[in-house]
């Protein structure tokens, strides 16, 4: 404690009376500490209350996204496990890879989630992969905090998102300047959001590198719920 810096010390003439009313630094610290405590308490309570709802929303959004990125899919099966190839896992377990099936129960493709650093914060995305065509067949960004108006075009710009509807994965997809590509594995960057565009492709490539070798053969997969 530095006693010399006590607020009661008069610093200029006429300040003596004002200084007498001035609260000590302990009181200031206590006030802020109490405000922080109260704030923490409120936040914890609201967090506890909203967490299950938010997680349920997320699970629903993820399920919807799986069916969106694999065209024609109506049902899905979570894949996971520690083995060399992924195996079907229970409905309640967390999964990053999904197998998607059409209304006949025929296998349509995999949906794979990935996340990584964007321009502002972590970007989470999901993409559909058709092993027969060796193509990415769709992509959605699940969560991001990219710059509104620029970076968030990775979600809103159909011209950009549409490029992932038929993107070859061999050779590895790359980002090129808008209008300079055109190759089956090339993605045109969004003007003004090059970093976000590159981040999306990089996250997708990383996820693909991690999972592609572990995907089970299509013949080994069955639609859930005993669909015909």
């Amino acid at each position: 404690m530095s006693a010399t810096e006590s607020p009661a010390t008069p610093t200029s003439q006429g300040a003596a009376t004002a200084a007498a009313n001035e609260p000590g630094s302990l009181r200031l610290a206590l006030t802020l500490g109490f405000a922080g405590l109260l704030s923490g308490l409120i936040l914890v309570l609201v967090y506890q209350f909203t967490l299950p709802i938010i997680e349920a929303n997320r699970a629903l959004a993820l399920k919807r996204a799986v069916l969106q990125v694999v065209p024609g899919a109506v049902s899905m099966q979570k894949l996971g496990g520690d083995g060399a190839t992924l195996a079907p896992i229970g409905e309640d377990e967390k999964a990053t890879v999904f197998a998607a099936f059409d209304d006949q129960g025929a296998f349509k493709g995999f949906a794979i989630t990935g996340e990584g650093a964007g321009f502002q914060d972590t970007i989470q995305l999901i993409y559909g992969f058709d092993p027969a065509k060796k193509q990415v067949v769709g992509l959605r960004v699940l969560e991001s905090r990219e710059t509104p108006g620029l970076g968030d075009k990775i979600i809103k710009d159909q011209g950009f998102v549409g490029q992932f509807d038929d993107l070859a994965v061999e050779p590895t997809p790359v980002v090129v300047k808008a209008g300079e590509g055109g190759g089956a594995h090339q993605v045109d960057a969004i003007t003004g959001a090059t970093i976000s565009s590159k981040a999306v492709v990089k996250i997708m490539n990383t996820a693909h590198g991690a999972w592609a070798g572990k995907l089970p053969p299509a013949a080994a997969l069955k639609a859930p719920g005993g669909a015909p």
Binding site: E22, A35, T50, I54, R145
Partner: protein, 213 residues
């Protein structure tokens, strides 16, 4: 005596809606005003979140106003405001996830909306709870009203829809610039023009009345 305080409370409420409207007269909080008013739904959600933060912060600030030392009042207000903004953020994420996604970073940015800190410093910290709440309600509603006016007109002109419902049919060529950032400035400019014109007319009438008297 019975009508006095009630009239005053009503005045606190009404001044925020019209005479001291935070957007059209005070021109405060322009960041969310321009950024999220590209549709009526977004504007309402943003207005609602701001209203909630304003009410809750004003209540708390007014309650603790006698115990908070002057030296740390701004920091205390900001802690209070930030708390309620985070609460609003979590509640929106839980109840309306699509709108929450659409508004994105702008919800957290309510913390730095000068309208809110301004009301705490200028009003809630100097007044008892009831007028503080009335003031907050007026300002919050005025802000929401302004956002909605902008959001609705921009959505109708720029997208041909109102709350997502198609208004004009397929022949309508939307004036896309209106939902883009420049459209926000254009629309705000036009509305400010209207408000200033009204204000000038009111003053002229008052001046004329005084001249006659």
């Amino acid at each position: 005596m019975s009508a006095g305080p009630d009239m005053k409370a009503l005045d606190e409420l009404l001044k925020g809606l019209w005479d001291e409207n935070p957007v059209f007269v005070q021109v405060l909080g322009m960041c969310p005003v321009l950024a999220v008013t590209n549709s009526a739904v977004n504007a309402l959600a943003m207005g609602g979140a701001t209203f909630f933060v304003l009410m809750a912060s004003s209540l708390l600030v007014s309650m603790v106003r006698k115990w908070v030392p002057k030296a740390v009042r701004i920091s205390t207000f900001i802690v209070i405001i930030a708390t309620f903004v985070t609460v609003a953020d979590m509640l929106l994420a839980a109840w309306v996830p699509d709108v929450h996604k659409e508004l994105g970073a702008f919800i957290s940015l309510i913390v730095v909306n000068c309208l809110i800190l301004g009301r705490q410093e200028a009003f809630a910290s100097r007044n008892p709870i009831k007028p503080a709440l009335m003031d907050a309600a007026g300002m919050g509603l005025g802000f929401t009203f302004a956002l909605f006016l902008l959001g609705a007109s921009r959505e109708v002109l720029g997208n041909g829809t109102f709350f997502g419902i198609d208004l004009f049919g397929p022949q309508f060529e939307p004036w896309v610039v209106m939902i883009l950032p420049p459209g926000g400035f254009l629309m705000l400019g036009m509305i400010l023009l209207f408000f200033n014109w009204m204000q000038a007319k009111k003053q002229a009438r008052r001046a004329a009345a005084e001249g006659v008297a």
